[in-house]
Symmetry: D3
Subunit: 281 residues, 6 copies
């Protein structure tokens, strides 16, 4: 008899055989408005069994590929730096073994922990960032490491012209003004994504997907819903384009399951996860 295992559906291949390695980063300590993303990875694991492994969109089946779910990090609430270190450490281990790290947040700040390892391996790293919020603040209530400043911190690592944001429809005026000079912010939708993808062909790309880029009607289960977002099919199209690039790390974050008691947001996150895994396979 074996102990109870609980992986994301079809992500139970042997580690050695898996090119993509998933892990959860259940952290939301800097969330200023409504916390809850800490419950996302566990919710995705159990709810993933409510979807099929087959995608009629791609005509591919997860069971034909190898994925490994290495479970959740145990992150200390109340100490941001220690939490980020844990994330970097897991990312490093996966990269060292020549595999692709796929992190499931958590609040958006967790991206920083992954990016700072990925950029060590790929100094030419670019970031494609889907989000409703720019996340470019220098600080928030005096705090420099925060969900609201995570892309700014990533810019500290990568420098100008390396970060491409899409779907942005909320921000403080000053951060957006800063953004105009240092990153490429594409507002509201993915109209300009194709050009960016063309431009980044062959370069190492980290893809960070804040699920609140979706319209709240499609994805109410998030801490800071912003009306006017993209549809599920728009996101699908965009993910298809992004994943045609040389993705060297990625994450999906800001699902907060408790805010959507219908379970639709979690189910949609599971479906997006499946499609991402299949696009990358």
């Amino acid at each position: 008899m074996k102990r109870n295992e609980s992986t994301i559906i079809a992500c139970d291949a042997p580690y050695e055989e898996s090119r993509i390695v998933l892990f959860g980063a259940p952290y939301d300590s800097t969330t200023s408005f409504r916390p809850g993303t800490r419950f996302a990875s566990q919710a995705i694991r159990s709810e993933s069994f409510g979807i099929e492994t087959y995608s009629p969109y791609q005509k591919k089946d997860m069971t034909d590929y190898r994925y490994f779910d290495s479970g959740d990090l145990e992150l200390p609430f109340g100490d941001v730096m220690m939490a980020l270190d844990e994330i970097s450490s897991r990312t490093k281990e996966i990269l060292r073994d020549g595999k692709l790290p796929f992190m499931i947040g958590g609040e958006h700040l967790v991206t920083y922990g992954a990016v700072r390892e990925v950029v060590k391996k790929y100094p030419e790293l670019h970031i494609i960032h889907f989000d409703a919020h720019a996340d470019l603040r220098e600080e928030y209530l005096g705090v420099r490491f925060s969900h609201a400043s995570v892309l700014r911190r990533c810019h500290d690592l990568l420098g100008d012209g390396r970060i491409f944001q899409f779907g942005i429809r909320s921000g403080d005026r000053s951060e957006l003004e800063w953004g105009e000079k240092h990153v490429c912010t594409h507002f509201f939708d993915f109209a300009t994504l194709e050009d960016v993808v063309e431009q980044l062909k062959g370069k190492p790309v980290y893809f960070t997907l804040d699920l609140d880029v979706l319209d709240p009607s499609v994805f109410p289960g998030t801490g800071t819903p912003e009306a006017g977002g993209v549809t599920f099919m728009q996101l699908m199209e965009a993910m298809k384009k992004v994943t045609s690039l040389n993705i060297v790390g990625l994450d999906m974050n800001e699902l907060s399951p408790v805010y959507d008691q219908s379970g639709c947001s979690t189910a949609t996150a599971c479906k997006i996860l499946r499609e991402l895994l299949l696009f990358l396979s």
Copy 2:
């Protein structure tokens, strides 16, 4: 003084004068993921008083027609065959009296109980099936009579080329491969519906509407929400086309009111019910 009656709004005509007879089939015992559709018919009854009897879309009023709500069947949870027998029995009675049976599920399996009676009366029966899920499995966890296999069981009764599915966006690979050979599966939307309607002109048609064909943003109150569904207006257009056919039986199923505490899913189901009744009048 009379006892408390509780029908769907404007469905309180005398049985004898009514061409359409509604009944509830509050059954969800084979639901594998999240049960709750057993509460649908009762919820529709009480919430239907929150909508108007008049449709500005069709410029028709329910009060100008005769509908009869014969209440809920008392179905034994834990015995699938006994439950299906009850459904067949009520369907038979309604057909015998020359009326049109309109069943409100319940999980999708209830359709089988109705179809197996309707096909006795109309051996040429065809099925138009709106759904997010193909429901074509030979069995599910060893069980042959299940929500996940209901259209497969209907195929046992009708044979090849009689079942037309629309809106499908989820399925096991093997059931979809089987479907390619035996039924007509139209994925994602209703683009090809017009042709099928043309083709079925004059033939007896059973219409089974799994409400999860709608996008979860529109209809979160269901057990297995699938992102990427149709809009309310797309469904309206499609229902208009289908009801132009010779409908000899129909059902609406998979509303699970408890999963949408806003009540919007139930309200939307009531509105769809009203529009269906008026389209058929």
Copy 3:
């Protein structure tokens, strides 16, 4: 040390310097179906701190303008006339000081309390009304002052041809027939809004926005959700047009926060409020 203040975000300018004055009318006593709009103004106040003051749509920031939130009226549940008097009284005071009254309902009946003051100052008043429901009944269950009859009561004050409704998709047949003769009802969307705006150029206009004009997928937090509504971006476009007119009073009503536990409806109402304030500045 100062007492705890709680205004809508960025609506804490001195009264004297503010051209727009907001107030809450937390009343829902005549709501026949599902009450709860009484909690709207308070919810908007606290949740407004979850949005930014800057609008990337208009490239304007609330902090550059002056708004005053004068808090909620204390309205007596159970006495409609007394409640309407309180609303009229506050409206009068704001108009007297040459400011623009912006009321946050509450059920839609509160509009009557405001309109009857505004029309005293602007006898040429016209109303632009966005709503899913016509609200034109002569009475509802014997009651003449009701959310279901509020535009009819406004018609008592303004007369024929002064009320322009948009987005209507629900009504009793008789009220819609009455409406055909006395008001201008535009069904389903804003297709004809541009013409009406052209026609009303320069005239004093009261704008009443029943948020259930939005599709329930976008705005489930309301008492009587009606499928088939407009999208957030459609509403934005329409608000932009309306606010180009000579708006002399306005309200936003029918948010019922408890029916949307995800908080998205309240967040969306806050965003709409911000955009309206900026359009009017």
Copy 4:
């Protein structure tokens, strides 16, 4: 085939054979804090099928007696007087036929509509009142007919020394001071109930049970929960005593099902209803 009936469990005897006649008064327009009692009677009807008809406490079965559920009154929200008239009218009809009226609220104000008819038939009427709140205000926000003043209005009809309150643990200081002189307020529990019952032997008694007399742990589903209430078994004992008197009318009110999503409050209300009916049989 018969139309769908929906009575409280085992309350479907013929009217003529029933000594106890139930009816719902789904009204909550004067509720100042959190509305929702309008949904109580309907919830009790459907949830009553989750309890047994047999009481192991009394060793009696509802099926051995005759009860009639005459359904809900259709009460106009927004017009208190009209609503009270409807209640009085139904009460009168039941009394006229020599039966015992048992009303299910609704907010507590509905009691007034019943009492004013009962007192016409029984001028010696006394009231036993279980409640957390004294409900003795002369007015509330300027309104004299309100849930907060209902026992004061009953005092207008009955005069001093006829009203006996138990379980009271909340009130405005002035109403409690008034109460000291005009009614018999027993605070916190039923310690003194036995004496009062002794005193009222043989006299006609109206029993009004505000379910919030129960501790919120037992009964969270109510608009104004007050910690420190009685237990279920304490209430059972007290009901047993009260029902040994000459009860000529009664009601049970202030269940607000939406505030207890576990359904326990509604289930408990159903059980109390069963026990009351059996005590009275």
Copy 5:
């Protein structure tokens, strides 16, 4: 790197070293009122990390003992017999290895699957049954294998005088009359438990704990809440007594996490589970 495991807290010892083996039986297909117990075992697993492994009541720590959580059975909804077979099979395996099976339901019917294996090994088996409901029906809506008849089916296996029920406060009259002759039903509380424990000293005992024996105030998260139940400390005392006997199998059932969104019921179930495991160690 290892795959994600998810056991109940401190139940991750090697199988070989563990005397107590837990497994989940997530089945609720015969639940007639409100389903949801299928989610119990998974909820207990994740929420168990919210409690401590140390019991201040027993001054013992789970980490000093060996427990093994073998995960959930995959049970086919819609086929009762197949589901019971799976349960029996797992029970048999655990018994064969000389270990103590501890099943987490699921609806109460699952007990039958376990008991029929345990009685094979211990023909002298007795059952101690804590529950609000007698569960002694011969059939329910024509179905013999149902949550409402589970102890009756156990009686089929064990015969008269072997089943001792405590806390019962709900039942159909006829089943209770039957129970008087064939089982030992102790109503309402545990007053007589001590005597029964004395009587059963040394005999093999199966302990089935339906958590709805608790008062709904303590445990609202269950399908059929019954007011008037026992307190947490009363249950603790009773469990201490029962576990002093020769327990050869046990289960805990009828937690339905979705009905208690506060999470208290699940947390309480976890605490009861911890105490039971420690009492048995």
Copy 6:
């Protein structure tokens, strides 16, 4: 016209005239299990208007005394030390003006911020601590400043024998062993409180009330509910005793309103707050 103010009911006296000054500390960043206490102070403010200002327990009315609600601190999520500094700073200001600080948490860690100021003014400070959890860990997941270690950190400031805990029913074995040597832990209830109160007569006492000392049936709205707690009336008696001491600072924490959608927990917190304020007046 004045800006919208929102104080706790009857806490709107001028600062100068108030002996007790309340403030909110909406912080929950170190909460390891379920966050949400950040919403407590705001919820208490708005819900406090649902209770009366008069206490029938004490026969005193809040309107006869002077209380000042200075609003919420703006605390930076993600930086514990900065947040604690803000709390200390507000506490210092209140103490400097000779007033009694009454903080409303927030998670329990906020107590540290207050205590470290209070002990500067009152070096002889003792703490009376009501809680389900001992909160005595040296660290939690490597973090020393955490809700799980707050009393340990207070011990760093006060030393042995100064902290008296009551109601404790959960803890890690090692922290409880540590506690035996350094603090006075009274398990489960208040049986020994009277002696402690006797012992502390005249000494300066800080009172920290973690509301989860209450049984979850009474107070489900908290992050880490622990069955087996005290009743509301037991807490009332205990508060009466504690407040007879020389209280020089106090707080009430760990209400997490979102986990109790019935609102009862928040209402109960408001009532406890009223009683505390009146006991202290």
